[in-house]
């Protein structure tokens, strides 16, 4: 295909991506080095029956005018990145010098909003992803052994947790887990503790969110593995049986190696999707004990005075995080590509 034709075919799609994905990234970077205007103060004389007093008041008109004039706010350099709500260098170094143990340092770190969100986001990503892969493979192996007639309905039901809107899925689970809901009530009964509340304990909230994540994503890896299982050659399995391999050995030494490329694919997709965990935190209203990077950006943007600078700085840091996460994949693809072209 000549360059010219290629260009015209790709143009609309490329334009959409440049305008609404690449530009926003630039806009986020610019926002992140600005901070909202301080309110314009004026001092006015307030005269009452007991004489006049000088008081300082907010000049709403001038503030609005300044905002309209420079909507970005004022230039602040890297302040947004280093302040307490983001990387918090000052607080971190203070905590490092003043805390006696590593544990104390970490608990001090967890009081800083950015690190709290970062820790949860990373834990969520690296706990949910392996569980999803193992559980998905187990379900795929189980479904593969079912009679043919049962497979279709099983796949139908299995798809539901993945297809359903994340916010709705988390709300449904949240209502069941509520102290007066069915799971919450059962847990109270099992542990014989009428005050047990999953919402009140940070540890239990984290576990609850992980469980939701696994429930939501396991169907994806199940479907991919199930499709992969159909391509494992029968003769290799038969040969292994003749050589005396038992069922477990056949899975371990024949099926799993065949699944390896799929594991890479699922890991990549899951890392991307779990790193942006957001809706469950809204659905479970768990912000007191667990927040994520996406959630703190959303929180900055939906306050009464929208903190564009702060949201921008967190967004840039999140994008850097995504880049680090994807780096191994990109490097590998780049190597493959070079090997092919030489």
């Amino acid at each position: 295909m000549p360059h010219r034709t290629f260009f015209w075919f790709i143009l609309p799609s490329l334009a959409a991506m440049v305008l609404f994905i690449a530009f926003p990234i630039i806009s986020v970077i610019i926002q992140s080095i600005h901070v909202e205007h301080e309110q314009v103060l004026i001092s006015v004389e307030n005269c009452g029956p007991f004489g006049c007093k000088q008081i300082t008041a907010i000049d709403a008109e001038a503030t609005a005018l300044l905002k309209a004039d420079q909507p970005l706010g004022q230039f602040s350099g890297l302040d947004n990145y280093t302040n307490r709500n983001h990387l918090a260098f000052k607080e971190v170094s203070k905590a490092w010098h003043s805390s006696e143990s590593v544990g104390a340092f970490f608990s001090a770190l967890l009081n800083l909003p950015f690190y709290k969100a970062l820790l949860f986001t990373l834990s969520y990503t690296f706990v949910v992803t392996p569980f999803v892969i193992v559980l998905g493979l187990a379900i795929a192996l189980g479904v593969n052994g079912l009679p043919k007639l049962a497979k279709g309905p099983t796949i139908f039901v299995s798809l539901l947790p993945m297809i359903v809107t994340p916010l709705i899925g988390s709300l449904i689970l949240f209502w069941m887990i509520d102290g007066d809901g069915v799971i919450g009530a059962t847990l109270k009964y099992l542990f014989d503790d009428p005050n047990l509340s999953l919402k009140a304990s940070p540890t239990l909230t984290w576990i609850m969110l992980f469980v939701y994540g696994i429930w939501h994503s396991a169907p994806f890896s199940f479907i991919v593995f199930y499709a992969g299982l159909q391509t494992v050659p029968e003769d290799t399995l038969e040969a292994a049986t003749i050589d005396g391999a038992n069922r477990w050995q056949r899975i371990r030494y024949v099926v799993v190696p065949y699944m390896m490329p799929l594991v890479v694919f699922i890991t990549l997709m899951q890392l991307m999707d779990n790193f942006r965990v957001f809706e469950p935190i809204v659905g479970f209203s768990s912000e007191a004990s667990a927040t994520s990077l996406s959630w703190i950006i959303y929180n900055d943007l939906t306050q009464d005075t929208q903190l564009f600078g702060s949201a921008g700085a967190t967004s840039v840091l999140t994008i850097v995080g995504v880049a680090i996460l994807l780096l191994p994949v990109l490097v590998r693809t780049w190597r493959d590509f070079n090997r092919k072209s030489h």
Binding site: S13, M17, F20, P24, V28, P161, W175, G228, R276, Y298
Partner: protein, 293 residues
């Protein structure tokens, strides 16, 4: 010896079937429970006395005189105007799907048929864009959209959803186009078609399965979105999912969680039918990316 092995394998079959039955219950129970509970009053859905009340509906009987009530649905649809957000959702979702597919088929076809180095780079950049959390992009849109006075309208969020959809659509359609032999469009061009005519009259007719599958996933992405629609739409233009989220704030105060429950069930119904009718396409779409490894 053989009977021992047989017993072992039947044991295994039972465990594996038991595991699948357990999984099916875990996967389906929450939906059935909420569907059933949405026809009860709040005192039964969140039962302080006994969770079995949610099944039997003791309080529902006492309050309304029958074991089922549609008061939650009435409240959500009639009093809270959920119907309007349903209409908005369908406008947003269908426009997003149609525009995404138009742009995506053109771009995906070009990427699949060109061997240039930069087509590889476009795909790589698309992969990086695909990984971007949507909310990071939203924080970049908001300020310019406020400045240009286009914040809050449906077309704005349609365009944004189309753009966010593009990387994924490009990848998926690109891998579907690769499966269509090059000879088809080339022979059409030898017969005198232009590239676009070959694309339009020869390739698209055989691409329908791929286009439908990709369309389903665009549909899901737009339908399930919360980050973009919640921050880019004004109160009166809200779609279903942000509407449900805003219910939570107001209804919890009034003690009318049942509105939210009814709205959630209403929003689940289209997805349920989608899976029922398009199960095969969804499965093939999920694996399309994986087949190539």
């Amino acid at each position: 010896m053989s009977s021992q092995a047989q017993r072992r394998s039947s044991m295994l079959a039972i465990t594996s079937t038991g595991f699948i039955v357990l999984w099916i219950m875990i996967a389906a129970m929450p939906f059935l429970w909420t569907l059933w509970g949405s026809f009860k009053v709040q005192g039964d859905f969140f039962s302080k006395a006994d969770w079995t009340h949610a099944l039997t509906g003791v309080r529902t009987m006492a309050e309304t005189g029958s074991a089922f009530t549609t008061s939650g649905y009435f409240g959500a649809w009639m009093e809270q105007g959920f119907g309007k957000s349903v209409v908005n959702t369908f406008i947003v979702v269908f426009s997003t799907v149609i525009i995404s597919l138009t742009l995506g088929t053109l771009g995906g076809y070009a990427l699949a048929r060109s061997g240039f180095k930069y087509s590889f780079w476009i795909l790589m950049v698309a992969l990086v864009f695909r990984a971007m959390p949507h909310i990071t992009l939203v924080s970049g849109y908001l300020l310019p959209f406020f400045e240009w006075n286009i914040w809050g309208y449906l077309p704005t969020s349609i365009i944004v959803l189309v753009a966010i959809n593009q990387p994924f659509t490009l990848w998926m359609l690109h891998s579907f186009f690769l499966n269509i032999p090059k000879d088809m469009d080339e022979s059409a061009m030898v017969d005198g078609c232009t590239r676009f005519q070959a694309f339009r009259h020869v390739i698209i007719p055989v691409m329908w399965p791929g286009v439908i599958t990709t369309g389903l996933f665009s549909f899901l992405l737009a339908y399930n979105d919360f980050a973009v629609t919640a921050s880019l739409l004004s109160q009166e233009n809200q779609t279903m999912i942000p509407k449900i989220a805003s219910f939570l704030g107001t209804t919890q105060v009034e003690g009318n969680v049942m509105f939210a429950v009814a709205a959630v069930v209403s929003a689940m119904v289209p997805l349920f039918f989608l899976v029922m009718f398009f199960q095969r396409q969804i499965v093939s779409g999920l694996t399309a990316g994986a087949v190539k490894g």
